[in-house]
Amino acid sequence: MPGPVQSIERAAAILRLLAQGSGRLGLSEVANSLGLARGTAHGILRTLQMVGFVEQDEATGKYQLGAALLHLGTSYLDVNELRSRAINWADALASRSGEAVRIGTHLQGKLLVVHHVFRPDDTLQTLDVGMLLPMHATAMGKVLLAYDANAAAAVPEGDLEQFSRRTIRTTKELTRALSGIREVGWAADVEETTVGEASVAAPIRGYGGLVVGAMGISGPVERVCDPHNRPRPDLVTFVRDAARAVSRDLGAPRW
């Protein structure tokens, strides 16, 4: 087993220090209290500030505990916040791909649709925001299963519900599919939910790279896929670029 990571130990000590007393300390006070070089203390404080655990007062330059720490137990990215932050990129994705766009998050073993942009052909379509879809049979659901340990834990062992003859049948098969998704960084569903329909999805990441949702397109299989029933590479690129753009806006590191 590897030994303790020194910088994490130091970061924890800084947080404990800030949690005591007045809770507002300058850089020198922090460095002196813990016997750290100023540069080291500054580096750790800046990192803690970036993840929201520490805030710096603009006027005095002093540091204090950040709001993100207080909400650590309950925090999740509000789905309405996610929609607001993603709306421009979702529109652009629909416009470029010519297909309908959806954004989904995990809710109690299901995929919750939190945003929906119509296919840009002005035909009659209905918003399906709020709809719950199966995780293992949709591209967005599989993305979340691949990257969100809590979502994966909610899938029961054994046989999976079937929606078409292409739906993944067993948890074993699913596990294999998910590791493939993690390798390439995106997922597809070709007629796994509905015959004649295909979709492509990629993860949306927040702070520190945490996956907070999935974003994807869906449409008729003959438009989304090539003659070999594989998703068209240009559409995959559009989806991944859009999901990356949202992630960047949410503060995810580049990956």
């Binding site: 309405n80 607001s84 652009a92 416009s95 929906h116």
Partner: protein, 504 residues
Amino acid sequence: MAERYVMSIDQGTTSTRCILFDHGGRLVSVAQREHKQHFPRPGWVEHDATEIWRNLEQIAPKALAQAGADPGQVAAVGIANQRETTVLWDRHTGIPVTRAVVWQDTRTDMVVEELARRPDAYIVEELCGLHLATYFSAPTIRWLLDHTPGLRERAERGDVLFGTMESWLIWKLTGGPEGGVHITDVTNASRTLLMNINSLSWDDTLLDFFGVPRAMLPEIRPSTQTYGVATRVMPGVRIAAALGDQQAALFGQTCFAVGEAKCTYGTGSFLLLNTGHEPIRSTHGLLTTVGYQIGDEPAVYALEGSIAITGALVQWFRDGLGLIGTAPEIETVARTVDDNGGCYIVPAFSGLFAPHWRSEARGIIVGLTSYITKGHLARAVLEATGWQTREVVDAMNADSGLNLRTLNVDGGMTANNLLMQFIADVLNVPVVRPMVAETVSLGAAYAAGLAVGYWPDLEGLRRNWHRAAQWLPAMDPELRAREYDNWQRAVERTFDWIKPHDEE
């Protein structure tokens, strides 16, 4: 085609944005920079016009770089701007004589009150279609001339120029003191109180009434026309359109036919209805304004319903009450309950705008019982935006004799599904969001592209429009009628709160 993009500049109240659009009307790159808000005294709001110009100098090259484009690939640039904000600058030095006075600034309330008492005050609305209020430009110009020593003489000699933000930026882009073009577009001119709404030219009676010298005024031009060629920032690019931001949104939503309307939901909300080539006088508290004028064609007029507080009420819920952490969370909190629990919030923070125009009204929360939770309050916050829209739409229908059949929406609040559904419910018409939410910028780009032939005609622009979302009405008519009645009774209770002797 070598000219691949059209550029838009949206000079807004809090920031300036530069966006490149491609031929499909799709957003290609965005660069944005906020400018400082100056509050030197209570009720005063100012911007530094030079800072705004410098921001443009930075963001325009940035937007080009992001797209890997050079100015030679830009067919034209169009400008949309915060309306009514007043800039006065020295023609010879190019330096503003004071900070720009922003439309929100209420320093002219005494000027406006004095002017309103004059027996000939009725001519203002008759000639320009707007009523006397602090936020239009003319009272501000008057105030600045009265309060800056020597300024009136310089203005009369033509040494000091007036403009709204588009005039200022176009003058700077076309060379400033070295041959800068001093113009305004007809939509911006229609917000000054100085332009005759029928002749679309500066009106001597109004200039006299406000005491504004003609020599300082820009030339009024159509909204789409090649005004000049930029000599700085994007040398060689044609400046081909200018529109007030709300009019730009009308254009970006492609509301080109009589009876088409859009509502932009931001801090406040502005509903504009295309009324065609005749200005319609409102008897229901709406403003008569110019929608746009394409080249030498006759102008298209609009009726405007201005709502002061919509998104600002959500901001208050967040910052003033601290009940939510971010604005979108209002929807999450509102969905914790099924209805408003009998509670209504009327956000008459600084009086009510359209259709009431009651400056003495102040906000209220009514129907409070111990049953009410923050979820009910959140509902009431969102419903306030819905009902205020309904009041303005009712006024539009009454004034125009047209019945609104669909409401086109844009702006940040359109991400709120609960609100959009509620608006569809209370209006009893479908609410539609287009694929490009940046309709202000898109409208400026469309107008500029149209002027230089990048897009052939209005039909071509319409083909770029696509529906991104639609909400259909689903409310029981009896419930709608009952709730509207409750809202209207709540509104009545805000009236007459500020007593005349309370005012300064």
